[in-house]
Symmetry: C2
Subunit: 501 residues, 2 copies
């Protein structure tokens, strides 16, 4: 039995505990071992990675205090145990994850059964896999691509090991975009529109990892997005809509852990991506989902052929797990909207909702089109009338009102100021804009400090087919960091985002 101390330390998404070296030796445990910590009063347990504090006899005037017989539990793990400081826990070594043998099987090129995926997902969710082992799983599925049957099994397994929300309504709308297009903040328009039409939509969104902003980052400019799942559920029941950060909901914990190792690798496992998207939709209780697949030379999906194949897989796999799926293939040749970075993307959205004059016409049109399709999916609008109804809801101010309700519920924030440092990039010749490089735009905003610096980013003044004269402002960059401004100015010279005819 060990006495619990709570350590308020953020160590990323891992569960960590600390023992002193005397106890660790006694238990024959080493640093980085995984141990199962059990709260005997309620049988809750958590599997933690171990850190070991040394020189225990020597700790009087040191900075970390942990006596023999005590265990320091970092706050994330502490919460899982539902325990109080000073109470006792049991510690046993965690067994090796049995399902590793299935990962090995997959890595050797064999197909996995549904039960095998489920076993892997359960071990991942229970934190029995190390990062190394989770990476092994992700890469085994990348090197030996998942077929449709496996992708369905993986999606099901992800849903089964997590929580699933259930709403009383028969139709619960949702949407997802494959991504890779800067701005493209359609969710923040579509959600208030369809919700104002009376259809519920519990929208969970991602944060940016390597891009300058996800919907969650942009929404966070205006209100809180890191909201417990029970609050989100109540909010949707109350006002019909929410726009929150999916990672905070912990609805699909296996997917959250997989995404963590996937991101730094920048790999492209289509099967896993589909399973990730659809399991999240299923878990949040959605029934009807619209998938947006933008195609363009610098988008994630580069050819129509690939877009059509992806569309086929989404429909097949989604249908099998009991979702109604529609897909739209959209233009992904340039950013959608004009602001890039959380604040500037939020400004585009607000201008459209408030029916103010805006350059972000393409964002408005795309959102109306998507909302229209979704209203038709939900049988709110007759075929062919969705777009017009969506437009009516938006332009009448009903969508804005609904959006304000969402902001109020989630905790509305005062809007921040634009970046302290600002620099206009001007045309050095004349011509017509031929293309805009999505990747360079994203990297530029990222190098300016987005999404951490919410006022970092850029506003595009010209889009494809616009006529440009020498000296015209092409775009303006913003940041709060002088160093980042300097670095970004060098970056944009080497990586021109515009090409002219």
């Amino acid at each position: 039995m060990f006495k619990v101390k709570k350590f308020e330390i953020d160590i990323g998404y891992e569960y960590v505990a600390m023992l002193n070296e005397k106890d660790a030796l006694e238990l024959r445990l080493n640093a980085k071992d995984r141990v199962k910590i059990i709260n005997p009063e309620n049988d809750k347990y958590v599997i933690c990675v171990l850190e070991i504090i040394k020189k225990v006899n020597n700790m009087k005037n040191k900075d970390v205090k942990l006596k023999t017989g005590e265990i320091g539990i970092y706050d994330k793990a502490f919460a899982k145990l539902e325990i109080k400081e000073g109470k006792n826990v049991d510690i046993v070594p965690a067994r090796k994850p049995i399902s590793l043998k299935y990962v090995k099987k997959k890595s050797e090129g064999h197909r996995l059964e549904k039960q095998e995926f489920k076993s892997i997902m359960r071990d991942i969710v229970e934190n029995r896999f190390s990062e190394i082992e989770t990476t092994f799983f992700v890469l085994a599925c990348t090197f030996h691509k998942l077929n449709d049957t496996e992708t369905i099994a993986l999606t099901d397994a992800m849903v089964e090991v997590g929580k699933v929300l259930q709403f009383k309504q028969k139709i619960v709308l949702d949407k997802h975009c494959i991504g890779g297009i800067p701005n493209n903040r359609t969710s923040m328009l579509v959600v208030p529109i369809v919700s104002a039409a009376g259809i519920i939509i519990p929208k969970s969104s991602s944060r940016a990892i390597t891009s300058p902003a996800g919907t969650a980052d942009t929404m966070e400019v205006l209100c809180n997005v890191d909201i417990p799942v029970s609050d989100m559920y109540n909010q949707v029941n109350d006002i019909g809509a929410a726009i929150v950060w999916g990672g905070g909901l912990e609805l699909s914990p296996a997917d959250d852990l997989i995404i963590h190792v996937e991101h730094p690798l920048e790999i492209d496992s289509e099967g896993q991506m589909i399973a990730s998207v659809l399991s999240k939709k299923k878990s949040v209780g959605s029934t009807h989902v619209l998938i947006d697949i933008p195609v363009g030379p610098t988008a994630k999906v580069k050819t129509m052929q690939r877009a059509r194949e992806l569309s086929r897989r989404f429909i097949k796999i989604g249908t099998t797990i009991g979702l109604k799926i529609k897909t739209i293939i959209t233009y992904g040749g340039q950013p959608i909207g004009n602001g890039i970075g959380p604040l500037y993307e939020a400004q585009d959205v607000l201008a459209i909702l408030e029916n103010k004059e805006t350059k972000a016409i393409d964002l408005k049109e795309k959102a109306l089109k998507m909302a229209g399709v979704m209203l038709e999916m939900a049988e709110h609008s007759k075929k062919g009338q969705g777009y017009n109804n969506a437009k009516l809801i938006l332009e009448s101010g009903l969508a804005l009102k609904k959006f304000e309700d969402i902001l109020e519920k989630q905790g509305k924030k005062k809007i921040i100021k634009e970046g302290k440092f600002k620099y206009e990039v001007k045309a050095i010749g004349s011509g017509i804009v031929k293309s805009i490089n999505n990747i360079y735009v994203s990297k530029l905003a990222f190098s300016l400090g987005a999404p951490q610096d919410k006022a970092a980013g850029l506003i595009l003044n010209k889009k494809i087919k616009d006529i440009v004269k020498k000296g015209d402002v092409l775009y303006t960059i913003y940041t709060n960091s002088e160093m980042k401004l300097k670095y970004s100015k060098a970056y944009l010279k080497d990586n021109p985002i515009y090409e002219f005819e």
Copy 2:
């Protein structure tokens, strides 16, 4: 500038530092980010993973103390900076490892150039790779096997990013065994023999990870093995030999980090294994190396064909990097020696060195054969005379004397007692021993607590071709843990290590 506090915390092989959340926010750093910490007085730096301590305004009566403006540096990273507590360091975000693009290239099935391997090895050694990224490299090389040219390039790269010892002698002997055979502690016999013959041999050995004992674990029963490289170098110059733990030498740091992610995966990347072995040999200053390849149904190498191909690759790659390589393919159908687990393996070795009666005749014979080959490689003995000379050295007591010198130099220990709990496994019928399962033997010793519990393990009483009568003791198991005894008794029933004709 941040003021340094040393945190005496063992967190495995990682470099870790801690900031408080106020400073982290200021620097826009998150938990798990990698930062470069620089000692401005000597320009030493270390790249650390970041932990963030929360609720700084609230820390008065908490257990971890770290004020704004302070950085906690865990001891491994602290040592790298060569700094004192209270001094100042600079912190900058670590750049993304540039060489990740080569890992990606390899993962897509392309061949890598020498410079690309070197760039990867440098980033790994500098701690720029996360575990996830190192795993990506290891798996890319497993899924797309390294050819000979790549393996040579990788070996060279591993050597170049580490230190290389140089002895003044022209011939420096070494040996390596592919492994998978319990006991097989030839190094502890071969080293004193060839060294007593006047040839220097700086033997670095591994610890067991999933097996019941490595040479380092067994040697550790008798003396210290975790010895700084400078002490080891001086010892070899002084008495001609050492038997130490390779991981403590930090001669091939890239390999140490790669092995860390490789082990839990239990994968078999032949190219990486060859690069790992040969880079270690080259780094320690060896010139002539004997490679032992045991073959058997439960050994690592299962067929003669695979053994011959492995032999060819070792010779080709070793020769290219400037080593003289010989290989021997040996019998791997059962454990070599009778004791399994650090103490019992050490007992076999001591009995042979002391010319006492022992059942471990096979271990003695194998060691003499290998020592003979090595004496011939070193041109100490004429062709055909190595074995006899080795035998003379062993049986005259010269090898024992040399072994005692090694123990004294490294810090001789008092020998421990056998395990508190003991259990004899008896034959339930009669027959002749047909086979012994190496894997079950290893797992049984492991489940008894080896190698952490140095007195855990078993002593085999019967080997292949021995006649067994009902009631004969087949083997005796030992452990210091009653729980492990119980668990192991169940294990051995389900996994019989003997098969009879």
